[in-house]
């Protein structure tokens, strides 16, 4: 049997060309997300997207569309003719298929929206008619207009009406790829995938940059980062991962620089390399999973000193979040279980016993004096490898 899903989107403040670009991109993203389901179609209908599909596709497609950025809510709907009897029987089907509480009679109300003003009955009249029919057909149900267990929505449109009882929240945000590309410094930890996800939610196309320090970090650690990139691609449609060979940079820092500044200088080198990759790839900004004060090195002083090596905006979406909030979000987006796998990332080695928590810029610059910065950056960028992950592959898994 043919079924339908209505997908709603917000960001109503958008106007003019912005709005039509937004809608076009959103529709394209929805169609890309639907690719695994043969025959499923999406079309725009007055401020919404209507998806036509087969019965058994409804639940998996709902699940998939909940991960499409820009959608605020979703409802499986029955599309019926503009006819009161059709409304009545569809409403009864909605109640019959709803979950009901135990121990007391289930309650409902009917809510009607009439955009088609030529329909002969007005909204309260339709609600009365349909509600009465429901009570007659299903005598165990009661009406409760304030706190109903189920609300039956009837949307009377020009050509047909939509009848539904379920409203599933969407993820919200802006359509993927609506905001341009940014480079995400992706470690194997909990924070950076969440930062990347928040960027994607606002339309950023991610190019992840990972610093790999074999033999100090293993191939399994790299695999973990690839898994994270794949999970993020499941949300954003596509994530490109740049893997930087970072061992030589770290050993050079170890050789030439004072131990308390290892971390500061390492972060500066990472940002320099990321800056270079961003320029090559035309990325508009960098993103990191830093938040203030979470570890000793994430102080404002430290951020300023590290940030000084790049002119690109460095976005830190987690700056206002507590660790528990970050962890909760990591669980929700599905990166947490991978992030906590116990492989070393390159920050946890070379940790000196007494790192400077408030390094000044002058201090860092002086400490870098003996370091062949340009040559190291050049070499690391030259040895960077690139791999792209697509959403379809995460579904195939």
């Amino acid at each position: 049997m043919v079924q339908h899903i209505v997908a709603r989107y917000g960001e109503m403040s958008l106007k003019g060309k912005n709005r039509s670009d937004f809608e076009r991109l959103l529709l394209r993203n929805i169609r890309a997300a639907l690719r695994p389901w043969q025959g499923a179609k999406a079309e725009r209908i007055a401020g919404r997207v209507l998806i036509t599909l087969e019965d058994e596709q409804v639940e998996p497609v709902l699940e998939r569309l909940r991960r499409v950025f820009g959608l605020t809510s979703l409802s499986p709907v029955e599309v019926v003719n503009l006819d009161l009897d059709a409304f009545r029987s569809a409403a009864i089907r909605v109640l019959q298929s709803s979950e009901t509480p135990t121990g007391r009679p289930p309650t409902f109300k009917v809510e009607v929206k009439r955009t088609n003003k030529r329909f002969p009955l007005n909204s309260p009249q339709v609600a009365d008619e349909v509600g009465g029919a429901c009570l007659r057909a299903l005598p165990q149900w009661r009406v409760d207009v304030h706190h109903p267990d189920v609300t039956v929505y009837i949307h009377i449109r020009d050509e047909e009406a939509h009848v539904y009882g379920r409203v599933v929240p969407g993820v919200g945000g802006m359509p993927a790829h609506s905001a341009g590309r940014a480079g995400l410094l992706l470690s194997g930890g909990i924070d950076s995938p969440v930062a990347g996800w928040l960027g994607m939610k606002r339309g950023v196309t991610l190019e992840a940059i990972h610093f790999h320090s074999f033999p100090f970090t293993s191939e399994r650690a790299l695999e973990k980062v690839e898994t994270l990139a794949q999970i993020l691609a499941g949300w954003g449609g596509r994530v490109t991962l740049h893997t930087v060979h970072f061992t030589d940079v770290q050993t050079a820092i170890r050789k030439h620089c004072p131990a308390p500044l290892y971390i500061t200088i390492m972060r500066r080198m990472m940002l320099r390399i990321a800056d270079r990759i961003a320029r090559q790839r035309g990325l508009l900004a960098l993103m990191t999973g830093e938040s203030l004060g979470q570890v000793a090195s994430q102080t404002l002083e430290s951020m300023r000193t590290i940030n000084a090596v790049t002119n690109l905006p460095v976005l830190r979406p987690l700056v206002g979040m507590d660790k528990v909030e970050i962890i909760r979000m990591a669980r929700e987006i599905g990166t947490y279980d991978t992030s906590i796998l116990p492989y070393e990332d390159c920050c946890t080695i070379f940790v000196p016993p007494n790192p400077r928590t408030k390094p000044s810029l002058e201090e860092a610059e002086a400490a870098e004096e003996p370091l062949p910065v340009d040559a190291l950056v050049e070499d690391a960028v030259a040895r960077t490898t690139m791999k792209t992950f697509h959403a379809e592959d995460s579904i195939a898994d």
């Binding site: 033999p215 100090f216 293993s218 191939e219 399994r220 116990p342 492989y343």
Partner: protein, 384 residues
Amino acid sequence: MEVYLDNAATTPLLPEVERIIQEMFSVYGNPSSLHRKGLEAERRIEAARKQVLRALGVRDGQVVFTGGGTEANNLAIFGATRRHGGRGRHVVTTQVEHPSVLEPFRALEREGWRVTYVAPDADGWVPAERVLEAVTDDTVLVSVMHVNNETGAVLPVAEIGQALRQRPKTIFHVDGIQAFGKIPSAASLAQADMYSVSGHKIGAPKGIGALYIRPGLVLDPVLFGGGQEGGLRSGTENTLGIAALGAAASHASERAAERYQQMSAWSEQFCEALRTIPQCRVHRPREASPYIVSASFPGLRGEVLVHALEAEGVYVSTGSACSSRGGHAKASHVLEVMGLDAAEVTGAIRFSFGWHTDEAAMNRAIEVIRRQVAWLYDTVGTGV
């Protein structure tokens, strides 16, 4: 050049094993079937049983094929204690056993058994007297490994087995997983009532092992079902694996003695060469298998060393591979109970040799170790 020195974790297939597996593809019958196909498969299993007995150096007794070494150890420990629990409530083992022995004993403890875990000396070796002193009239089972999988210590199982003959009510189990196919006639030497073996440590595939049970000893099964393997291991026999284990056992019977001598000379050289690396501490028990060498590089992390050697095609492991859960090294319980300091435990790696290891490979490994260790100490210093 690739040098695989992680043979205590697992070994590549022997060429003759590959051949027999190919051949067994067409011997697909269920050994329990009454028709010719079944008989054909059954014959292969009986032939393999003889090959395993011969490699163990025993003439009679039962060989029960299992799903591997862990299962053989579990069958021995639970099978004996369940059957003979009326004789007492005490069992004896050592602190250096593999988890597939230690964990069954911990499970017995939870069931109310008294378990004595005998401590090793500082070199990882366990004196026979210390084990025998722990044995009382109440002791139902003594389980001691033949060769330790982390240090290569060859424990005095013959002495223990001999002494336990005075106590016919105490059953003696030997975990011979690292000894089988390497020490000639291992089970008869150990005078064991039960002896566990594994296929994939000697060139057979993973998923096949066996428990030898001396004539007259009765066990309870751990798995219940169709009653295969004399009722001790229900489930349709893994004919492919069994034939492969037979072939690997037969290979070992023919060559074990000669290989042991040869390997002794080579591993002696190998240890000598390691000792010339200034930071290296070789852990050599007084009695040690030439197939396993353990060494520490204090200040380095074993895990990092593994990856550094891997970069030049040399494959080794930290402690035992089984304890590196999910690819992350866990501190070795064996090295800890030997009283090594934290830096020695963290910086420990294990070299283990197999049927295909030759002198050239070991020399090449030394060369790579020397280079990588020097680079690592230079890079991270000794303070990390």
